[in-house]
Symmetry: C2
Subunit: 416 residues, 2 copies
C-alpha cells in the first residue's frame, strides 16, 4: 500500500490512511506500506537547498529532501501502533534499498527483503520511506520527484506481493477526464501498456516509470482513493473489486472483456513547427532534433512526410506552447541542415485514443477521423502506435473532440 | 565547532555560522562541525509525534525527530561548498556513532573516526548531525534534548581535536547573570568542575552531560557566540583568546590565576518543606525521598539536622514551587515514617557561590554569610560541597544577594 503526500497531509489524513491499512490487516493480509512526504514538505526542503546554493551538491540535496519521508514513515508507524497494530518504520538505507549513484535521479538496483519477509510473515506492518535508497558509497539517494510510486512497485516485487495498491486523491483511472467528459467512467481494469500511454499522455495518476517497472516485474497495480471511507467497503470483495473502488492495472491476459478503446486523453497548449523541403540525407532528423535536445526542449509528436521527388521532405513536430519561441530559434539558427521555410503556430491540442483492442481491430484510426469530421473538426497531424492513435487539432475544439470520441467508442456511462 | 538551533535558525544565520567555519579553515585548522536542528524544527517534530499518539514508540520518535539535524547538516554542507570549501554532511549512522539502545535518551558508546580522520587530514570539513546515533539494532537513536553538545564533545574526543567550540547565542560564561548583576564579567577560563556546578545551577549555557564527558575525555571546551562578526577577530589569537571572545572550559591546571570564587548563581521559585521530629532510624531518609521519587519529583537541596536526643531529627528539602503541592501530598500521605509536623512554604531562592579556590581557601562560607548579613538578608538553609556553597533565602532578596556577593568576592567589572 502506497500513500502519496495529499493522503498524509496532516495528522488527521495520516490517521484516515492508517484506517485503510487496518482494514487490510483485519482481513488477514500481510501489509508493507510505502509513504511519500507530507504534502508541502518536499517543496520546502527543495526551496531551502536552492536558497543555500542554486548549484547545490546533489548528494547533500538528497540528504536534505529524503527527510520528509522519514518523518511520515515514523508518524505512520506511531499511528498504527496506537490502533493496536504491530508496526515499524524503515528508512531506505535500513532495508537496504540499493540504488545507482545518480543522486537526485537514482534507479533502484536491489532490495534485500529478508528482514521484511520475516516481519510480514509475523503480521507486522512494515512502513518504508518512498523515493529513496542508498548508494554503493553509503550515501542517501533519491529517485526523483514522484519516485515513491516506483519505490512501492519495487518493494512489491521484492516481497512478492499479490498487489501493489497506490492510494491517491482520485479513485482510479477514468476513460477520460470527467471535468471534460462528464459521462467518463472509472475503468475496472486497464492493461500495463494502456496505462503507460495514459500516464505519458496526461492522466497524471501514476508515474510512468512505476508502470514500466510493474509491467517488467509483473506486479499488479491498483489505483485507489485514500479519501474513501476505509470501512464502508470491507465486505464487497471479488475478483475485480478490492474493498474500495479502484482500477486494477494488470496484464492484458487478465482483462476478459477487452474494449477496443479504453480511454481518450487530451494534452492542450501544443505548438507545431513545420520545416518544409528539408534536403533529405542521412542524419538530417538527428541534426534537427539534436539541436532541440541541446536546448533541453522536449519534443512531443514528430511527423515526417515523404516528398514527391524523394530528395526533400517536410518535417513537423510539436512542443509545449511555452517552448515555442526557444524551439523556433533552435531550428532557425542552425546551418547543419538545409530547408526552404520554417512555419509554426501555437494553440493546438493533442487528442489520443488508447486501447489494446486496436491491435486486433482494424479501422480504429479511420473511425476516429470520421467521428471528428462529423463534428467539423479539422485534423492537423496524425501519429499512431500499436495501441494508440493521436491527432493534433485546433485547441478550441479540444473538449468537443474528447466528448465526441468518448461517445463514439461507447465509453459513456449510462444515465442514472 | 558545534552550532545550536538559534545559530542555524534560517538560511541567513546558517550562512553567518558558515563564515565562522571558513575563518577557522582559512587559518589552516582542520574542522569537524556538529549541528543541531534549525530552531523550532525539533519542537514541530515532537508535537507531531505527540499528536500521532501520546504514548508513542520511542524508536519511531527517534526516527522522526532526528531528521531536523539531517536537514541542517545537508544545508550547511551546501552553504560551505558555495563558499568554495570542500565539505560533506554525515548522519550519525553513516560514521557510525554507536549508542546504547535507550531510545530518546541514548548514550554514545563508540565513534568510528577512520573516515573522518582521513577527510580532515585532506582539509575537508565534515558536517555531522548532532543529537543522534545508531543502536546495535541498526535503528536511529537520539541522545535527549540538548544532546548535540554531547555529540560535539564525543566527536572532538574521537578525532583528538585540540578544542571543541560550542557556538551559541551568548558569548561565554559569566560570573553572574548580567541582567541581575550589570557588572558581571565574562570568564576567560573556567574549570570543568566549576562549569558543572554552573551548568546544573542555572547558567544554561552548556548541557551538564557534555561538560562531564569533556572532563572525562580531557576535551577543552570553548563557549563562543555565533552572532559575533566572524571576520572581526581573526588576528587576535594567543593562549587565551580564540579569535572571537569566548570562555574556555578546561582543566584546573590550565588556569594560572585561580579566583577563590568564579561565579554566583541563582535559582528562583524554590519551595522548602520541613519534616520535624522524624523518628530517626536507618532507612528513614530513603522512605521520604523514595516517596518523592515515585512521584517523579526532583528534589534540590536536602538538609538534615541532628536533634538533641539523637533519636529524632529534622529534615528539610527544597523542590520547585510548581511541585510544592504534589511534594507536600507525597510526604504527608505516607505511613512509612513517623514525624511530629510537616511545614513548608513557597517563594525562596537559592544563591550559590562556586570556585575551585574554595578547596584551598578557608572561610569562604563564613564570608558569604557575613556579606549577606551586612545586607540584612536572613539565611534559611545552607548546603556545601567541595567547590560550592549554597544558601536558601527569601526570594525578594535574590537579586540584592547576587549583587552583594558578586561585589564582595571582587568579581565586578571595572567601571569604564
Amino acid at each position: 500500500m502506497k500513500f502519496g503526500g495529499t493522503s498524509l497531509a496532516d495528522m488527521e489524513r495520516i490517521r484516515h490512511s492508517a484506517r485503510h491499512i487496518r482494514r487490510e490487516v483485519d482481513e488477514g493480509n500481510q501489509v508493507a506500506v510505502v509513504v511519500s512526504a507530507m504534502a508541502g514538505t518536499t517543496n520546502q526542503l527543495v526551496k531551502w537547498c536552492q536558497e543555500a546554493s542554486p548549484l547545490h551538491d546533489a548528494r547533500e540535496y538528497d540528504a536534505v529532501v529524503s527527510t520528509g519521508e522519514q518523518v511520515s514513515a515514523g508518524l505512520m508507524a506511531i499511528v498504527l501502533q496506537d490502533m493496536g497494530i504491530t508496526a515499524r518504520s524503515f528508512c531506505g538505507w535500513q532495508i537496504p534499498i540499493r540504488t545507482s549513484d545518480i543522486h537526485g535521479a537514482a534507479r533502484i538496483q536491489d532490495i534485500r527483503a529478508d528482514d521484511l519477509d520475516e516481519r510480514l510473515g509475523d503480521n507486522q506492518v512494515c512502513v518504508v520511506t518512498g523515493f529513496q535508497g542508498i548508494s554503493s558509497q553509503g550515501r542517501i539517494t533519491t529517485l526523483g520527484r514522484g519516485g515513491s510510486d516506483t519505490s512501492a512497485v519495487a518493494l512489491a516485487a521484492a516481497v512478492k506481493a499479490d498487489r501493489c495498491d497506490i492510494y491517491t486523491d482520485v479513485d482510479g483511472v477514468y476513460t477520460a477526464d470527467p471535468r471534460i467528459a462528464p459521462r467518463a467512467q472509472r475503468l475496472e481494469r486497464i492493461s500495463f501498456e494502456e496505462m503507460l500511454e495514459m500516464a505519458s499522455l496526461g492522466a497524471k495518476v501514476l508515474q510512468t516509470r512505476s508502470v514500466e517497472l510493474a509491467m517488467a516485474q509483473g506486479v499488479r497495480l491498483a489505483v485507489r482513493s485514500s479519501f474513501a471511507d476505509p470501512d464502508a467497503f470491507q465486505d464487497v470483495r471479488d475478483g475485480t473489486n478490492f474493498g474500495v473502488p479502484g482500477t486494477l492495472v494488470c496484464d492484458e491476459d487478465e482483462i476478459v472483456e477487452k474494449q477496443i478503446v479504453s480511454g481518450v486523453t487530451l494534452v492542450k497548449s501544443e505548438a507545431k513547427i513545420t520545416i518544409r523541403s528539408v534536403k533529405d540525407r542521412p542524419g538530417v532528423a538527428a541534426a534537427i532534433f539534436g539541436a532541440l535536445a541541446d536546448e533541453q526542449i522536449v519534443v512531443d509528436m514528430i511527423v515526417q512526410n515523404i516528398s514527391d521527388d524523394g530528395r526533400q521532405t517536410d518535417i513537423t513536430f510539436t512542443v509545449p506552447d511555452s517552448e515555442y519561441d526557444r524551439a523556433m530559434a533552435a531550428v532557425s539558427n542552425n546551418d547543419s541542415f538545409e530547408y526552404e521555410t520554417i512555419t509554426g503556430a501555437k494553440g493546438s491540442a493533442k487528442i489520443s485514443v488508447i486501447g489494446v483492442g486496436m491491435r486486433s481491430h482494424a479501422g480504429v484510426a479511420s473511425s476516429m477521423f470520421k467521428a471528428l469530421s462529423e463534428k467539423g473538426i479539422n485534423i492537423q497531424l496524425i501519429t499512431t502506435s500499436e495501441i494508440k492513435t493521436s491527432v493534433l487539432i485546433e485547441e478550441e475544439y479540444a473538449e468537443l473532440a474528447v466528448r465526441a470520441l468518448h461517445t463514439y467508442y461507447g465509453l459513456d456511462r449510462e444515465e442514472e
